[in-house]
Amino acid sequence: MNTKLKVSEISKIYPGCIANDKVSLEFGSGKIYALLGENGAGKSTLVKILSGVVKPDEGEVFLNNESIKLNSPLDAKKNNIGMVFQHFNLFETLSVFENLSIDSDKKDEELRALIKDILKKYNFKIDLDIPVLNLSAGQKQKVEIIRCLIRNPKVLIMDEPTSVLTEQETDDLFISLKQFSKDGILIIYITHKLKEVLSLCDEVAVMRKGKVVSVSNTIDEKIESLANKMVGENLNTIKKKINNFKNSEEILKISNLNFKSDDPYETNLNNLNLSLKKGECLGIAGISGNGQNELFQILSGEIITEGTSIMFRNKEISKLNPRERREYLMAFSPEDRISQAAVPELKIYENVALNNFKSSNFFEKGLVNEKKIKEHSKKILSNFSVNTDNVELKSQFLSGGNLQKLIIGRELITSPELLVCFNPTWGLDVGAINYIHETLIQINEHGKSSILISTDNDELLKLSDRICVIYKGKLSKIMNADTVTAEKLGILMGGGSID
C-alpha cells in the first residue's frame, strides 16, 4: 500500500525564535527520508508537530491527500504515525510488557502473541518481563520501535536514533529500518550525522534556521556537500598528527581502581588500570551506561574510592576533592553541561567564579571581587570565541555549543596539565564540534594531556593517541589509535573480543 505524507507551509514560532518557517515537504512510502540539520534548525519541532506533541501556528499536514488534525499524540496514533523519540518515552520501573500494553486495547494474551510475532519477524531478542531499567539503550530503542509496530504504522519517524547506540547496534537498526521500508512503512529519519544519511537514506531534506534549504537524492550528495548545506558555510577538516610518546614523561597512573555501588542505576567498576603521558590524548570509548559516569566522577574526585591509587604528577591524589585536584592542575568538563558543569540560572561571570582558585583572587576577605571575575570572564569569552561579550548574560541563554566553549574555556584558561572531558561535543552542531575538536588537539600540541571519555567513535578516532573501551565497568586493552578501526571499537563496545 502506498502512503503519502505531505506537510504544507508549517510555521511554529516560539518567543524569540522561529522554529519552523513555512516548511513544506513531501514523502512517499518505499523510501527512507533524512531530515538533516544542526541543533536548533527546527527538525525536532517539525517531528513534534507530526507526532501531535506540539501544535503548529500555521500550516497543514496531509496523509494520503487528506488533511489531518494532529492535536494530541492520540491523533498521531489514530492516523498510524509512529514516533521514536531521541529521549525514550519509556517507563523505567515498569516491565517491557507493561510498557507495551499501556496504550493497547488488545487483551494481554493477544498482545503478547503479536509482540512475539514481531520479535521473531525482525529478529529482536528482548525479555518481555524484566523492568525496562535493566535494558541497554539499544534494547530500549527496540521496545520503542515495537510499540510503534504493534499499531501497524504507515509512517515511522525516528528522531536521532543512533546517538545512544554502538556501531553494531546502529548496523542492526539500519537493517531493520530497511526491512520496515520494504514492508511499506514510510520512514523519516532525523539526524545531524552525515554519514548515516548517505548510508541509509534515499532522499535528504536539509533544514537550517527553521527553513528547508535543500531537498535532494542522497546519490547526488557527498559528506562535504551536505555539511556545507547544513552549516551554510565551508568547513575546514581537522587532522591530528599521531605522535610517539615512548620517551615522554608519565603524568598520570591509575592502578586498582575499583568501585562498587548500591544503586542499581549505577555501574560497578572493576580493577581499572591506566597511565597517560605528557601531551597524550587517551580516548575511552563505550556505550553510555557502562561505567563512564562513575569513572569520570572518580577522576574528578566527586566519588572517593578505597584502595585506588591515582598518581598525578608524582603525587597521590586519590583522596583529594575536586577543588584540591583542580588546584593541582587537573581540569574537568562533565557530560551534562546544564546540571553538572554550569548553573543555568547564574550569569556567565558567576559561573566562571564557581571555578575559583586560591591564586585567582576572586574573593577577598569573604567578599566577591566582581571586577576581577568579570575581566577574567571577558578573557574566556574572547579567547574561546563564545558568541557574546556580555558577562552579565544568564548562562541558560547560551546555545549548547557556546556553553560548552565557555566551560572548556573556564577549565583551560588556568593552563591545566590534564583535562578530563566527558562527551564534550554531545548534542552540538558541526560548527561547534569543529571548534571544540580543534581546541582539544591544541591542548596536546602544547604538551598537555587529556582523557576523552566519549560515546562518539568518530570523535575518538580523530582525537585520541591511544584508545580503550569500557564495557560493563571493565577496561579493554589500551591500543594505539592508528591500529584501531570503528569496527573494532564496535565489537569491543558490545562486549566482544578482538584478535
Partner: protein, 310 residues
C-alpha cells in the same frame, strides 16, 4: 489460661481497631503518591473528615450519611489541592502543608458547636460470635464494617495497582508523566483522580476516629495520625501490604506501651511513648532493604510538577 488467651485476643482486637485510620489514610495517600503527587495534607484532610462526619451524624442522625459525607468532604478539600498543584502548578510540598494547616483551623472552627456532644453508637458486626469463641472471637468479630473494609483495602490496592489497566496507567504516570503524556495518557486527569481518591480515603479515616474509635468531637483529635500515615507510605516503600504491616506494628506498640505504662515499669514514659515511632521505622526499614525493589516501587516523578508542552 483461657481467660489469659481471651485477654490477648481482646488486646489484638484493640490493636487492629487503632490501626484502621492509619491503614485507610495511608492506602489513599499511596495511590496519590503512586501517580507522582506528593500530598502532605493528609492530616488536614483527615481532620476535616472527622469533623464533617461527626457534624453530619449530629445533624442528620444518620451514620450512613455521616460516613459518606466525611468521604465527600475529604474529596472536596483534596480538590483544592488538585486545583492548585495540577491546574495552577503550585509546589506540591508547600500546598500540602498549607492544606494541613487549613484543615486543622477549619475543623476547629466548625467543631466549636459540636464539642461535648455525645456520639452515637456505631453498629458492630457479629457481636454474638465475639462473645462465644474465646481468643479468636475478639480478634475476628465484633468490629465495625469500616475495620473489615480497612483490612481488605491494602490487598485490593495491591491487586488494583499490579493487575489492572488503570493501576498500570497510574504507575506509568508516576514513573514518567512526560512519557505518559506522549503516549496519549491524560496525566492531569489521572493525577486529579488519584488526589481525589486519596482525599476521600483520608476523610473516611477521619470519620472512623470521630464516629467509632472515640465517638465524639475533640479539637485536633487526629493527633498527628496523618503524618504517621504519610511516613508509613514512604517507609513501606509504596507497597500496600507493607503499609498494613507497618500500621499494625504502630498500633500494636502504641497499645502495648500504654499497658506497660499502666503496669508501672521503670522505663521513662517519654521513651515508651516514642517506642511506636522508632519500632515502626526500624521494622519497615528492615523489611524493605532490597534497594532494587525500592527502585521499582518508587514513583520516580514524585512531587514533580507536570505541564504539557503546547
Amino acid at each position: 489460661m483461657s481467660f489469659d488467651l481471651n485477654f490477648i485476643g481482646i488486646l489484638i482486637g484493640a490493636i487492629m481497631a487503632s490501626s484502621v485510620p492509619l491503614i485507610l489514610a495511608a492506602s489513599g495517600e499511596l495511590i496519590t503518591e503512586r501517580s507522582g503527587v506528593l500530598n502532605l495534607g493528609v492530616e488536614g484532610m483527615m481532620i476535616i473528615g472527622a469533623i464533617s462526619g461527626f457534624a453530619l451524624m449530629v445533624v442528620t442522625d444518620n451514620l450512613f450519611f455521616a460516613v459518606v459525607g466525611s468521604m465527600l468532604s475529604g474529596l472536596i478539600i483534596s480538590l483544592i489541592f488538585g486545583l492548585l498543584t495540577q491546574s495552577l502548578l503550585t509546589n506540591h510540598v508547600a500546598t500540602g502543608l498549607a492544606l494541613t494547616i487549613f484543615g486543622i483551623g477549619m475543623s476547629a472552627m466548625i467543631g466549636k458547636n459540636f464539642v461535648g456532644i455525645p456520639g452515637k453508637e456505631f453498629p458492630l458486626l457479629f457481636l454474638n460470635l465475639k462473645e462465644s469463641i474465646p481468643f479468636l472471637g475478639p480478634i475476628f468479630f465484633g468490629h465495625s464494617i469500616l475495620l473489615y473494609f480497612a483490612f481488605g483495602l491494602p490487598f485490593l490496592t495491591n491487586f488494583f495497582l499490579k493487575k489492572t489497566k488503570i493501576g498500570l496507567i497510574i504507575r506509568a504516570v508516576g514513573d514518567s508523566p512526560t512519557s505518559a503524556s506522549n503516549q496519549g495518557i491524560n496525566v492531569t486527569l489521572v493525577r486529579y483522580s488519584c488526589i481525589l481518591y486519596g482525599g476521600a480515603m483520608c476523610g473516611l479515616a477521619g470519620s472512623y476516629l470521630s464516629l467509632i474509635y472515640t465517638p465524639q468531637w475533640i479539637e485536633n483529635m487526629t493527633g498527628g495520625r496523618g503524618w504517621i500515615a504519610l511516613a508509613l507510605v514512604v517507609f513501606a516503600t509504596w507497597s500496600p501490604i507493607k503499609v498494613l504491616i507497618g500500621a499494625l506494628i504502630f498500633g500494636g506498640i502504641t497499645i502495648l506501651q500504654l499497658h506497660m505504662q499502666a503496669v508501672g515499669l521503670r522505663i521513662p514514659v517519654q521513651l515508651l511513648s516514642a517506642l511506636p515511632y522508632i519500632m515502626t521505622i526500624i521494622v519497615l526499614v528492615v523489611i524493605s532493604r532490597d534497594s532494587r525493589k525500592i527502585k521499582l516501587n518508587t514513583p520516580t516523578s514524585l512531587g514533580q510538577i507536570f505541564y504539557k508542552e503546547k
